[in-house]
């Protein structure tokens, strides 16, 4: 597009210079008047020439490409923000579970995995707990987490060196 504009401007410029030269060289009288008319027509043609081969389809393609690019960028941003939010939310759920476990007298490290529900909310689907706990305490914590977080999948790993 820019190249076409450049060509057009160069064309108009060249025609202007040639017409100015011709105007200076033409003898006065009828020849000059006819010459000026011809120069005017040539200049009008040079100015209007791009309208004849205006590529409307090319412009439409360019616009479609641009809009597709905006859509792609929107998806990338959504992905980046969602992944960032997922990490933060998983940490918050983990902190909540550690807090609840401490309330039951358990000391454990927690890693939570979240997945989006139908509305795009990050819900906890799995928690990996590392620490020593009696089966009763585990069951109590599992029941509490299912009631409060809807979390059903708990994976316990005994801490190294724990009984």
């Amino acid at each position: 597009m820019m190249e076409a504009a450049r060509q057009w401007l160069l064309g108009v410029l060249s025609v202007c210079l040639v017409c100015a030269l011709a105007d200076a060289l033409m003898p006065k009288g009828g020849v000059k008047r006819v010459g000026q008319l011809v120069c005017g027509l040539v200049m009008a043609l040079a100015i209007l020439a791009p309208a004849a081969d205006f590529d409307l389809a090319g412009g439409q393609r360019w616009l479609e490409d641009y809009l597709a690019g905006v859509g792609r960028r929107e998806n990338e941003l959504e992905e980046q923000v969602n992944m960032g939010m997922k990490t933060i939310i998983e940490e918050r759920y983990a902190a909540y579970i550690v807090d609840k476990a401490a309330g039951l007298g358990l000391s454990c490290a927690v890693r939570v995995t979240c997945e989006p529900d139908g509305e795009g909310l990050w819900l906890p689907v799995r928690a990996e707990l590392t620490g020593a706990a009696a089966p009763e305490a585990r069951a109590e914590l599992a029941a509490l987490l299912e009631a409060e977080l809807g979390l059903t999948e708990l994976a316990w790993t005994a801490e190294e060196g724990a009984a």
Binding site: M2, E3, A5, R6, L9, L13, C16, L17, A20, D23, A24, Y66, G69, V70, G71, R73, E74, L77, E78, Q80, V81, G84, M85, T87, I88, I89, R92, Y93, Y96, E119, G120, L121, W122, L123, P124, E148, L149, G150
Partner: protein
Amino acid sequence: MRRIAVFLLCALLGVIPCLGAELSVPGLDELWQEAEGYGVEAGAGLDEGLSNLFSDGAAQIGGLLRASLTTALKLMAVVLLCALAQGVQPQGEGLQPVTIAGALAVTALTMTDMAAMIGLGRETLGRMSAFSDLLLPVVAVLTAATGGLTGAAVRQSATVLFSQLLLTAMDRLLIPLVYAYVAVSCAHAAVGNPGLERLAGLLKGAATALLTGLLLAFVGYLTASGAIAGSVDAAAVKAAKLAISRAIPVVGGVLADASESVLAGAGALRGTVGAAGLIVVLAICLGPFLRLALQYLVYKGTGALCAAVAQPRLSKLIDAIGGAFGLVLGMTGAGALILLVSLVSAMTAVTA
């Protein structure tokens, strides 16, 4: 009591950027490194940055003015010599050798400046483009994190598109137009054909119209698309809030808490990054702007002074060359304005 209030306020201001740091933003560290290269520290305020820029500008202006005045004195010497030669030359019709020699001498004297200033303008736009490659993605992620997802994508894409368009237009069209404008102005000064004067006016008008059109299109598109994207984003944020309110109370609490801290943190960080970006863009432009603006003013002033002592064609030529510097200044300013408008628009976007 006042001390406690001030302490609490400082603590709150300190906490907000920390919350923003929770959300990982790709390219943020590289951006701060680049900004430090321009003397902008992470977290520096806008007022402090502007004050530093003002001091830098004031320190540079003396040396730049001296350099511009040297060329102006040379031009005035040429014009005065031409006026003296014109005085002893018999008046006659047709081409005037003294005027032709004067026009050629003025053009030859200014061509080095012209090439240097065009190179400076092009280099400034290149540096702004390189910085915007780092800045725009970071600002877009932070804006998206505050809920303005569609607006962020549209703003970044439009800014990149128009910046590239300006660079391409400058390389392929505007710089050739400026050279053509100077050449035609020189030809008019030498031979005095009124058609050439009109042609020079057409070339200058075309360059000005192109730059103005580009800027108007950018601002118009950004305003219109921003308004549409803003309503889409606001609806999405409202839907998300509704979904959170319908979730299990504890889950909803965790989600709302995380969302609010990310919103607040990303918003504060966006302000900090935006302010630093504004200062860096202004810092990139400061030196070139001062040089171009001084050249423009000095040439225009010299043209006006020469008109009093010499024939008008030579003073018009000097004035036209000043106008060419004005065009280069306009191109550089357009590049800076595209970035600044985009940044301010991103910083003021409110969705949540």
